[in-house]
Symmetry: C2
Subunit: 466 residues, 2 copies
């Protein structure tokens, strides 16, 4: 399964124009993603320039049983793009062409290596956007977004990446090129193979091109920041906000200690004068009319009157809005600046959030005192980012060992609350051992059957997910 030097010789002979690298810095750089748990050790990196080259690589890989790791912007957080066993890494970085935006059908065709933010900039002059948006958009590739069905802060408004793809071009394990669905909105002709490849983390095929569905640029927004009493208060506010006529663009939760860390680390001004146990960042599309804005104002006042929030502020300028967002976006970096942090990305049904969080906090405090828990995330999707800081004085290895125990407890608790061990980061290498907490044996058997059907030799991103 490992790629061999003779494989590279044959590849060079069959694709004389293919760019191949065995430069040690390339092997390190393209052999891993943002995770650092596994050391990269690929045989070589291929940088195809065309779908035909990708097809030739896969034909030869299939004939020789060579393992291939598809690679995008390498911003993944689950080791899904890590090549640690002498595989050939197939980087889509050179395939980054974007076709013209079609303003009538609101679509754009791009190659898999196009960078997310570049797609945004490409569409913006037409008043359009591809509403897939998250912190790593400056490096992440469209192909990687599709392969992981990327989430982010706008899912509550636009849904997952899956919803914003019309057509896919995919190279199969044996080198066949599939052109799926073109640019059709409706096409009820058998299985929707698109959906199978989206989110499959490169285990079923190599996405080489996509026709993306676009939408209007969002109107101006209002950014609000509230202090509330516990997760109960967070969810009460969520229920209230969803009943209002305005459109929610984001609903993010952060615990008091998360906010505290950001304020310390960034020397930020506290946004509210009254302290609270939990905070909410709410972004809504600004009502077009003055009457609508007045309505929003009245709603805000009523939140105070009804005791639904303890304090709150509405950004008065784009700069203030930006400052409020930086309190949410700075959490990860601020916690990590203080020392070693163990991270999990999980999700639970919204109505299970409170029970899950309070049990987890209690059990963690009882079994592992001294471990600080930071909770934040895309609460409107039930998606929580759990960060646990290493207690001072605990050795690094002892902390890692303890985190393994904590994770087991966490996964069991997630299972009891019908949650998922991976909300949006995927399974890759790092969550493989936890898959059975979220997927039943019958589901895993079905996934294996589909994998076997599409990649019988197991050469596509082997060892990932299953």
């Amino acid at each position: 399964m490992t790629a061999s030097p003779s494989f590279l010789d044959r590849l060079r002979a069959e694709c004389p124009a293919l760019k191949l690298s065995q430069d040690p810095s390339d092997l390190t750089e393209y052999g891993r993603d943002w995770t650092r748990a596994v050391d990269p050790a690929p045989l070589a990196i291929a940088f195809p320039a065309t779908t035909e080259e990708v097809s030739k690589i896969m034909k030869l890989a299939s004939a020789t049983g060579t393992a291939i790791v598809p690679s995008g912007g390498r911003t993944g957080l689950s080791g899904g793009a890590v090549a640690a066993s002498g595989e050939l890494v197939l980087s889509l970085a050179r395939m980054n062409r974007m076709h013209s935006v079609d303003p009538l059908s609101q679509t754009v065709r791009v190659q898999a290596g196009a960078i997310t933010e570049a797609v945004h900039q490409h569409c913006e002059p037409h008043g359009l956007t591809w509403p897939v948006d998250f912190a790593s958009k400056g490096s992440s590739h469209v192909g990687g977004n599709l392969a992981t069905n990327a989430g982010g802060v706008r899912v509550i408004r636009y849904g997952l990446t899956r919803n914003w793809v019309l057509g896919l071009q995919v190279v199969l394990a044996g080198g066949e090129i599939l052109e799926i669905n073109g640019e059709l909105e409706k096409n009820q002709t058998g299985l929707d193979l698109r959906q199978l490849f989206i989110g499959s983390e490169g285990t079923l095929g190599i996405i080489t091109e996509a026709t993306l569905k676009l939408t209007r640029l969002p109107p101006p927004t209002d950014v609000l920041f509230f202090g509330v009493d516990g997760l109960d208060g967070v969810l009460g506010l969520f229920r209230e906000a969803r009943r209002q006529p305005f459109t929610i663009q984001a609903f993010e939760m952060l615990g008091a200690n998360c906010l505290q860390k950001v304020i310390e680390h960034r020397s930020a001004r506290p946004p509210l004068s009254t302290p609270a146990s939990d905070y909410v960042l709410l972004e809504v599309e600004r009502p077009a009319s003055e009457a609508g804005q007045q309505e929003l104002q009245t709603w805000l006042e009523s939140l105070f009157e009804r005791g639904l929030v303890q304090d709150g502020t509405l950004a008065q300028s784009p700069e203030e809005a930006c400052a409020l967002w930086s309190l949410r976006e700075g959490i990860s970096e601020s916690i990590m600046s203080a020392g070693l942090v163990h991270k999990q990305d999980v999700s639970v049904p919204i109505r299970e959030l409170q029970g899950f969080c309070s049990r987890f906090e209690r059990e963690l405090g009882e079994k592992y005192p001294g471990h600080t828990l930071y909770l934040f995330g895309h609460i409107g999707d039930g998606n929580l980012h759990i960060n646990i800081a290493k207690p001072e004085g605990l050795e690094r290895d002892a902390f890692y060992a303890r985190c393994k125990q904590i994770d087991e407890d966490l996964f069991r608790l997630l299972q009891a609350h019908q949650g998922s061990v991976s909300g949006e980061h995927g399974v890759g290498l790092l969550k493989k051992y936890a898959l059975s907490f979220s997927r039943s044996p019958a589901e895993i058997a079905t996934m294996r059957a589909v994998k076997q059907a599409l990649d019988p030799k197991g050469i596509l991103n082997p060892g990932k997910i299953l």
Copy 2:
């Protein structure tokens, strides 16, 4: 593969409580859908009351290699639920329970046999709806909607059925019960098996329950009716409307002869005084503020000034809105009242619409003079309903034979314009022969591989799609 009387005996022994019918009227009724091209001839109809009964049926079917046809509300238009070869029909009609609506997470769990309209009524008191909406909602089942990824007039606003499902319970060919995704919005743990079953027309598994994602009831709407100059005018208006700040709920096109037929058949009042070649029904969410309404009014006036429409009207009351909608919804019935009609449901990329329609009209007129073509549909999704009326004097069988030729020309033209031979009605039995015009050999081989992986004995809805 055919179900045998001894199979029924074993089924009775293993599921003593299972309701089974061999009543001739049941065999006819439950052995077919709304199509009438194939005569129903099932062995028997099973009406399970629980998922466990469905599982037992499938276990025995798998052990004996017995063909099973899953059956919902039987409103399909492709023969997907037709049982014509001695199969056992598995009707989900008795499994129609609906759980309580969860207003916080905006979800509801229902059994597959719940009727679409009943789900709407169940959710409405909570200010919520399941935005899957089409003409047959009074009979269609949720399970059937999911199995066919149903479309309809609201797709332009809400997307396809696929977007409005969180969890699925599916019984596999071998009887295993899958519980997929529960009620999670985000769950990136391997393949999204939900998406595989949605739209698979009962060929991969039996959907028995689903957790549906709900949304707020739409606000009051404005219904507008325009006369425009040709498809060019229709698309020009579409482009204009999509640029406006208001939200489009529907954008339907109807040719002048469609409108004429409805007016004659229903003795309706012509909605506009100026005749046009094509008409558009546009429904938009009414701006909440007076300023917003004024803006809409100003936009309407500008359409006339800029010559984008030839005539237009805005419904002044719910009754007027209803009357305008009935002009669109009455088309099918009105055309059919005049005689035999051949129907196709196709889709093309929006930017190909004009080229496709004009070529099809021209070729039809040249090759088959005397055949009247009626064009209407969900133009905002590129989804066209094509109706061709039998010329007077032409024999029924001669007309059918000619329609086969017309279809071949149509499918070839669709292929040239990157279209689909089935926009929303599915493949079932009736479009099988046309599948290769919309899906490549590599795609069909991939579909077959997935079918083989999930249903190795080929007992689930055999002969459908592939």
